[in-house]
């Protein structure tokens, strides 16, 4: 069974992010890491491989520097990597990203396509669904458990109230949530092997995609402006004895319609 894991390079979550004059994320001035959600997807892919055999391939759309991100995934144990990179991709929105990944996937072998549920930079969570649509595949999103048997995938889909059990026939796109597993740390031998693993670089030309479909030209969404989130209001401090405090907290929760 072959698995393709979609991964993205994002700014370090602890870095202060800035937007450039075009209101696009300034990626050059910060340290970049693998999207933390994607680490869970890679781990899940490796576990599927351990259980069912086959290959795990990483697919990434990004700048040349995203090779580092792919190398880390290869160090975790993925077999090979594909980076789609092209200057014309700059400014691509979720629609274009989904389209490009789908076009790349058409040239790859997969039974399961795994994605992190969202990225920590733009955070739309739209790409897994977009990829499934472009490929005409079923999508199972927000999985906190994945099982593959008899040609179908069954997941526990996390919801506010608990989880739903959802299934779909293979091939399928699955997005996983944080906490579905504990991503492994690359071992030293894994890091050493990663250097020798195949990492292909594909351009838009290789995928037969015209420049007008992607990047700023092809974007269906436009960022008009931005503002910082309002600072969090100060919490209310309760300094009473435990009985009185409990009553006040209960009243507060009832008022907020939590209880």
């Amino acid at each position: 069974m072959n698995v393709v894991v979609c991964v993205k390079q994002v700014p370090d979550t602890t870095a202060e992010k800035r937007l450039d004059a075009n209101l696009r994320l300034d990626r050059a001035s910060v340290d970049n890491i693998i999207n933390p959600f994607d680490e869970y997807a890679i781990e899940e892919g490796l576990r599927l491989q351990e259980a069912h055999g086959g290959e795990v391939t990483l697919l990434c759309m990004g700048t040349e520097s995203a090779q580092e991100t792919l190398r880390k995934g290869l160090a975790m144990g993925a077999d090979r990597g594909v980076l789609v990179t092209d200057p014309a991709l700059a400014g691509s929105d979720a629609w274009a990203t989904s389209y490009v990944l789908a076009q790349a996937l058409k040239r790859m072998s997969y039974d399961v396509i795994l994605c992190g549920m969202q990225t920590t930079d733009s955070g739309t969570a739209q790409v897994p669904g977009g990829v499934a649509e472009f490929l005409g595949l079923p999508q199972l999103t927000w999985a906190n458990k994945v099982e593959i048997s008899d040609g179908k995938a069954t997941i526990q889909r996390q919801s506010d109230a608990g989880y739903d059990v959802v299934e779909a026939p293979l091939p399928v796109v699955i997005s996983v949530i944080k906490g579905i597993n504990e991503p492994r740390y690359p071992s030293l031998k894994g890091i050493m092997q990663a250097r020798r693993k195949e990492l292909q670089i594909w351009s838009l030309g290789d995928l037969g995609i015209s420049q007008g479909m992607v990047g700023v030209l092809g974007a269906k969404t436009k960022v008009l402006g931005y503002s910082r989130p309002a600072p969090r209001a100060k919490g209310q401090l309760i300094q009473e004895n435990s009985q009185a405090a409990a009553t006040m907290i209960a009243d507060f929760l009832a008022q907020a319609k939590v209880l």
Partner: protein
């Protein structure tokens, strides 16, 4: 000048993350209880970090010293005791790497590289610290084996290791040239663990005495020739001193991290104390010293890796300077913490 490769940077980042997430939360407890952290040892084994010094053909990673000491530094940054698990595996194995025969390497390296066995280095005696010629432990050839008598002290991994590189006099009339090196298995007849030391720091790493009471060691476990021991020991120390330096850099960096974080959080006179120039000067001085020590350590390691001659001096300078920096920086870190420093177990644990 040393420069890190992409691979070394990735390893450094991975070990930093591993140390922060898995080792740091255990550090205070390890120090408190003064127990060897077997769980951390298993974690390091899983990550291949005990395989570092061994050639690939024996199951190791054949890593150079710069790579190796990056790992030691990152672990020491959160837990000095845990960093010794990695460092001493090499210290105890370097004599075999330097002077071992193919048969000896085949017998010991696969089990050491896999972490199934641990190693130790036994040179020091109560009356023979720097003065190796004063060594009292004797080895006498008797047919197909040597008989060892005497004792060694301050041995890291005493009672924990399966494999000991032991130095003993085969010809006391020749001074240091009468010293020979042996590989001693933990289960050798007449070999036992003596007193376990109670230490002020690095308490999760076991340090103790080794006793040789008519200990029988096969003649095939002699390293090199009789009389090569001192040379083997000195070559081992040339390679391992920057590792002690890396450990010291890690300890100092960890203390600096802690002090800097505290200074940003501690509010006095309505602002974090990090906004006070007196504190800023201290933190800047600490950072400068740590970085200078780091440069010396990796420069020395890179020289050893490059096979340069005359590495003893740079190796010794790196160890000495980094050790002194660790002492000063941990003391300064305590000062930044003010009165709380007296109660902060994490800082005192950094002290060597």
């Amino acid at each position: 000048m040393y420069r890190l490769t992409d691979e070394q940077r990735m390893l450094q980042a991975v070990v930093r993350e591993l140390a922060q997430e898995k080792i740091a939360p255990r550090a205070a407890e390890i120090d408190d209880k003064a127990e060897y952290p077997w769980d951390i040892k298993e974690l390091l084994v899983r990550q291949d970090l005990l395989a570092l010094p061994f050639p690939e053909k024996y199951g190791g990673t054949g890593s150079d010293l710069v790579t190796f000491y990056l790992v030691v530094e990152e672990i020491a940054r959160v837990c000095a005791s845990s960093s010794l698990i990695v460092a001493v595996q090499a210290l105890g194995s370097f004599p075999i790497l330097i002077a071992g025969t193919e048969t000896q390497k085949q017998r010991y390296f696969p089990n050491l590289a896999s972490g199934d066995w641990l190693a130790a280095f036994a040179l020091t005696e109560p009356g023979a610290g720097s003065d190796a010629a004063a060594m009292k432990t004797r080895a006498v050839l008797d047919g197909d084996h040597y008989i060892l008598n005497g004792s060694k002290c301050f041995i890291t991994n005493a009672g924990i290791a399966q494999v000991y590189s032991v130095f003993a006099m085969t010809d006391p009339s020749k001074g240091v040239k009468g010293i020979s090196a042996f590989i001693v298995d933990a289960d050798s007849p007449g070999f036992r663990l003596g007193k376990i030391e109670h230490k002020m720091g690095i308490r999760g790493s076991q340090t103790g005495e080794l006793v040789f009471d008519n200990c029988i060691v096969p003649a095939g476990n002699l390293l090199g020739n009789e009389g090569d021991g001192f040379k083997i020991a000195m070559m081992t120390l040339d390679k391992s001193r920057p590792g002690v330096g890396a450990q010291a850099v890690g300890i100092a960096q960890g203390a600096l991290d802690y002090a800097a974080r505290y200074a940003k959080e501690r509010i006095q006179f309505g602002a974090p104390i990090a906004s006070l120039q007196a504190i800023q000067f201290m933190l800047a001085d600490m950072a400068m010293q740590v970085e200078a020590a780091r440069c010396l350590v990796y420069e020395a390691a890179a020289r050893v890796d490059a096979g340069e001659k005359g590495i003893t001096m740079s190796s010794a300078m790196a160890k000495c300077f980094a050790g002194d920096v660790a002492m000063r920086v941990t003391t300064d870190a305590l000062q930044v913490l003010g009165g709380w420093g007296n109660f902060e177990i994490r800082i005192s644990q950094f002290e060597i």
